[in-house]
């Protein structure tokens, strides 16, 4: 994980920080969800504990910690207890492989009587060359925790919820992975950094031997493949099992779906996994279609921002650090906007029926995603004919 003690320490700290970021985001999102739903439904929501009800998060966490331990008599104890732990892993592994800021270049420096560096630290847990394939791979492990919870609880509702959830997840995984083929054709790489680098600067492309240039628009993927972005977004909703796709926990029919028998912190861990999926989906949407950690103004590319801080009198290391900070805030804002859309949709649309859900996945999303890929491929071929 590094060549010397400093690099290894920083890399391990990054991994732990990213995981804590995911865990910490959950109470904030739950608060946002409750306040947001109250706002949409013309209610007040939690507003008594602390300013704006923010302390409610802390009170809830403490309450969850001190809940009574409960193990149903018929449950398969190992599966029942392992399922919430397994629920945390796919989201955390996927989130740590996403770039959340421009790389920090550290110039050589002296500390504790010896020379250190130079280093390049990436604002992500680990850089895997084929980024998106890795993310899809670990996300596909998400079905295990549901099936373990459903089988381990030995409850009809849990079992039905888990089966529904996994059938739904795998159906929409097809549309999800196929909707990305179009944008992969456009960029010709799996690597997140190369994809983000392609999206810097103003929108310009060549077609039939002519050059088109829109200097007021950023060079984002959404302008090349809008249908792919829409399909990806909708499949991401279904993958995270939320309204309008929350059939696995349809409370009118299945009590609470696969976590019917869970309470206290174990239930909260399923929520952490679910919100982790949402954060990963939002970050992927930002990286593929909205410029990743780039800023939305075309002339403010990462190099330009770095140059701006260097001209202000920062050293090369601190200029790089400031650039990383700015780009980190940029992608966090994008992720936050998409998460708000997740919450907004949840409290606006009614739930589908199960046959409608499956019809949408197999008969609408899958053909459209396929058509998107084929049309993109043919179009790329046609415009490049000399």
């Amino acid at each position: 994980m590094g060549v010397d003690a400093f690099e290894i320490t920083v890399n391990v700290a990054k991994l732990i920080l990213i995981f804590l970021m995911m865990v910490q985001a959950v109470p904030i999102l739950v608060w946002l969800e409750r306040r947001g739903s109250a706002f949409i439904q013309n209610r007040l929501g939690p507003n008594r504990v602390g300013p704006l009800g923010l302390m409610q998060l802390l009170a809830d966490a403490v309450k969850f910690l001190f809940k009574e331990e409960f193990l149903p008599k018929k449950a398969v104890a190992f599966l029942y207890l392992a399922a919430p732990v397994v629920a945390l892993i796919p989201g955390a592994l996927a989130l740590a492989s996403l770039p959340l800021g421009s790389p920090i270049e550290v110039a050589p420096f002296a500390m504790l009587g010896r020379e250190w560096g130079p280093y390049i630290f990436k604002v992500q847990g680990y850089d895997i060359g084929v980024g998106i394939v890795f993310v899809l791979g670990v996300s596909s492990l998400g079905a295990y925790s549901l099936l373990m919870a459903g089988y381990g609880s030995s409850n009809k509702y849990s079992m039905l919820g888990a089966l529904r959830a996994s059938a739904q997840m795998i159906s929409y995984e097809l549309a999800l992975s196929l909707s990305l083929v179009g944008i992969l054709i456009v960029y010709g790489t799996f690597n997140f950094y190369e994809i983000i680098a392609e999206q810097q600067g103003p929108l310009e492309f060549g077609m039939f031997g002519r050059e088109f240039r829109f200097s007021f628009l950023p060079d984002w993927g959404i302008f090349y493949n809008p249908i792919g972005a829409l399909l990806f977004g909708v499949s991401a909703f279904a993958e995270s099992n939320r309204l309008p796709f929350d059939l696995p926990e349809a409370e009118g029919e299945l009590v609470a779906g696969f976590h019917t028998e869970y309470g206290g912190f174990k239930m909260l861990m399923f929520y952490i996994g679910e919100y982790g999926h949402m954060i990963v989906a939002s970050a992927l949407l930002a990286i593929f279609y909205f410029g990743g950690y780039g800023l939305p103004i075309p002339s403010w590319s990462t190099e330009a921002v770095n140059g701006f801080f260097a001209a202000k009198g920062f050293g090369s290391t601190s200029a790089s650090l400031m650039t990383a900070l700015v780009s980190h805030v940029s992608i966090l804002v994008k992720i936050g906007i998409f998460l708000w859309i997740f919450i907004w949709v949840r409290w606006t649309l009614p739930r589908f029926r199960y046959d409608q859900l499956m019809d949408l996945g197999w008969k609408t999303m899958l053909p459209w995603a396929l058509a998107n890929a084929v049309v993109t491929a043919v179009w790329i071929y046609v415009i490049n004919i000399k």
Binding site: E69, L93, A96, Y126, S154, L184, I185
Partner: protein, 123 residues
């Protein structure tokens, strides 16, 4: 290789963190009083029935097997997609388009057949 260590570290750390939370909340919470009714599987207030009476549609199995097939086909499109742009610029785009065209045609025939044969209908 270095990335692999980081991945394994992350997985082990998250698993340890989760196990610690499950163990810790079990220690922190109040001790339970044995209670036969509460230990039964939750059944909306009725006495619990056995799992065997639950019939599960074979559609779930069919969905899963069709998912595997289409998933494999989509995975084959991934390496094709990332080499396509370079191939088009190098002049080999027509060949690659034809190769994938035949593959996608088989995919489309399969999908149309599944829809026509009502294998994807849920009722």
């Amino acid at each position: 290789m270095s990335a692999l260590f980081a991945v394994i570290f992350m997985a082990v750390f998250v698993a340890a963190f989760g196990t610690f939370l499950v163990w810790g909340t079990a220690k922190l919470g109040p001790k339970r009083v044995p209670n036969e009714v509460r230990d039964m599987p939750y059944e909306s207030g009725l006495p619990g029935q056995d799992m065997k009476t639950t019939n599960i549609s074979v559609k779930f199995y069919l969905t899963a097997i069709l998912f595997i097939l289409f998933d494999i086909e989509i995975i084959f499109m991934y390496p094709w997609a990332v080499t396509y742009l370079d191939a088009v610029r190098a002049g080999a785009g027509g060949y690659l388009l034809a190769v994938m065209g035949i593959f996608v045609l088989l995919f489309v025939i399969g999908l149309i057949w599944e829809i026509k044969s009502k294998a994807l209908e849920w009722d």
